[in-house]
Amino acid sequence: MLGTIIKKELLNNIFSFRFLVTFVLFIIIVTVTIFILTDDYVRKVDDYSRRQREIENYLGKYAHFNRINNVVSPSQPPVPFYSLIRGLSSDVNIREFDNDPLPVIFPLIDLTFIVTILLSLIALLFSYDSICGEKEDGTLKLMLSNKFSRSKIILGKIIGGTLTLIFPFLFSLIIGLLIILLNPRVLWKGADWGAFGLIILGSILYFTLFYCLGVFISSRHHSSSASIMTSLFVWVLLILIIPNLSPYMASILLKTPSRIKIGREVDRLQDVERDELGRRLAGEKRREIYKKYPFLEEGLSEAEREKRIAEDPDYKKAYLELTQEVGKAWNEANRIQRDKASIIENDLTRKEEAQERLAAYISMISPLSDFTYLATDISSTGIRSQEHFGQIAGQWGIIFWDYSRKKIASLREENPAADVWNTPVDVSDMPRFQYKEEALIGRFKGTLSFFVVLIVYNFIFFIAAYFSFVKYDVR
């Protein structure tokens, strides 16, 4: 019996005008979006390799340890998923003078947009009249005069509706995937397909959620024109308002100290104040050493000093001790000031993280945010991938630090009098940063909570639809 109702729903939908419009719309929007995004991905890949080349080029000519960290700081390469999902990848760069204002005014659209806005809208457009429309037509009475149980009818309606509507979506995605596959510059690996499968699963859950919601609203109304109003009302609140309000509400509820002020303070601690402290500590050390080796105090020119280091082993030893001790004093100054700065910085970070978490929790009321977080995290374009990038960049930082220490030590050995920070060095043996995506299983585990929220919503709306339909007055 269930089969009959599903079949009826399928046929009913497939031959309807709105199904045709949906189909055409999906094919146009999905293919155009994927086409443009794929081109943009290729452009980003080119940009990335050009940047890496320039860095290498630079290192070949001007590498020295004074500011090398700023030149070699790791950056995240574009991931192949960019031709489907953009997440946080847009190049806004609010911390640079040449930030890009365009994505702020017009946010990018990608698969997440197509699912969250269009798919949910379509789900409501097909379900708002599923109960009250049949009542208006009078077919609901007829249907129930047969031996159908109400639970079978509502289950059949939901399954039938979902099956028909998922079809145009999947079909247009297949065309989109063909565009991606036919582009020789985009290479998807096994994990990317797995991630894609999970995102499709998420979008189906997201779709059924809204379909159940639509059926629920429909079974609370007796006219379809009222039902569509309520549906759109709920849709606007859930999709267009709650997510956008969430960060603002969080920032009102959990205030954070002024970022700019703290930034300036941290810079002052590690710049002006560090220099003062360093000079003082180094001066003290120098005086101590001078007491020990009074001959160091003679004012020699650089050339004379180099000559003396080469000729007099005692002088060389004393001079090495002096540079080492002064170096240690500066390190000490750096450490003290770094500690002071990290106290206020950590406090800021902690408060900001708390605010961010609150914003994320508030926004999770809306299925749109749940799906957005799910899709961006699984595709390595979201918050999680930024954290992951931060981690591996940090690990690389440690490796680089070891490398640069060894290199500086060897420079010192070669020429103790040299200014090791500002001498050109050969860094062709430097460890290069390599980006590796987080394993799919880790990403999946991280997004489980979003899957669970979507499933719970499905369940709630289904139960609600079921109970209101059971009590529905079909006359």
Binding site: T22, Y62, V104, F106, S251, Q355, A359
Partner: protein, 409 residues
Amino acid sequence: MFWSIARKEIVSNLLSYKFFVVILLTAVLIFTSFFIMHRDYKQRLSDYHLIKPKPDEPIAVIPPNPLSIFVKGLDDAMTRSFEISVIGVDVRAGQESGNIIFSFFSAPDFIYIVRVVLSLVALLFGFDQVSREKEKGTLKLMLANPLSRAKVLSGKWMGNFLSLAIPFLLVTLLGFVLLIFDPDIYFSSGDLFRLAVILFISLIYIALFLSLGILISTLTKKAAASIVILLFIWAIVVFVIPNLGTLLARQIVDIPSVRALSEKREQIWTREVLLIYEDKDRIAHFQTIHDDMDKLEEDYRNKFSRLIKLSKNINRISPVASFIYAVTEIAGTGIGEEDCLKRDIIRYKNNIFQDVVINKKEYPAFNYRYRSLSQIFVQGALFDSAWLIFFVILFFALSYFAFVRYDVR
């Protein structure tokens, strides 16, 4: 006759469930938006007072724009702290850059509500104007009277427009009056005038979607079909075109990424640091850093202006983009205003470099004057408003032609 039809429309709207839902939605959203964005503005204002530069600091910071309560636009980018140093401009971003959720969703300001929600609402008022009356059979009855079809259509348009515009204006004004009671916020008379212009353009925007709704309604026989088509047009015009247009423009204009630019800057600066130690003439190297960075900047600015111009023209296929361009520029939070501010900051930096680093004078203070309304209108807002009005007239004319040939039986 015209007014009796308009009156009939208003009265039937007033009694409908649709009207109730729509007004409730509009009121809730506008009040929430005003409340939230007002708090946001106050937080940013108090932050500004904390970071305001002292007279001897070479820092350019402008206070948040009170109109950003209604049109947030790029105000966050514009109110960053631009600190001038020997090598260029160090930038510090404000509170929002510390919470990543902000970058997922756009700001729920007044203009967002109008752009997304009120356009939808206007479509809901228009979608069944003709087809529903035909389904009910009242269209036949109406036309059996000595009424011209033009009058019927324009009466319907006017009635629906008024029943949408009046509550919208009332709610907005009420929300605005509540804002004025806050003594911390000061709107100059110029701001009030700009706000009035923004409100006027919002009304044109609503009229546009109402006309589109009526047009599709005259082209379809069934209200259910009309709403499906309209919602799809809405999704394409409001979301798809403006957002894909910018990406498309990027494909055509070859422009380095922001990241590439900042890496290039680091390289110039680091290179010169090395060279300074080799020949000790510091000022000459600072001059080189300065010149090289300026060259980089100018090249980027030129390419970026080309990108903006092209993307604007592509996006204007959708009147929604025109609406956004017009209102953000008028509020002083748009792309053009941000560009002017940046050019001013570069000028300020160059002055400091000349006066302080080379001529050893005192730091001048940074002052920014927003462009005047007439400049804004000449530089594009006039075209955008005219483009909106053109669409209203076009849609209305098309619906007139369709309605004249409409089979009312």
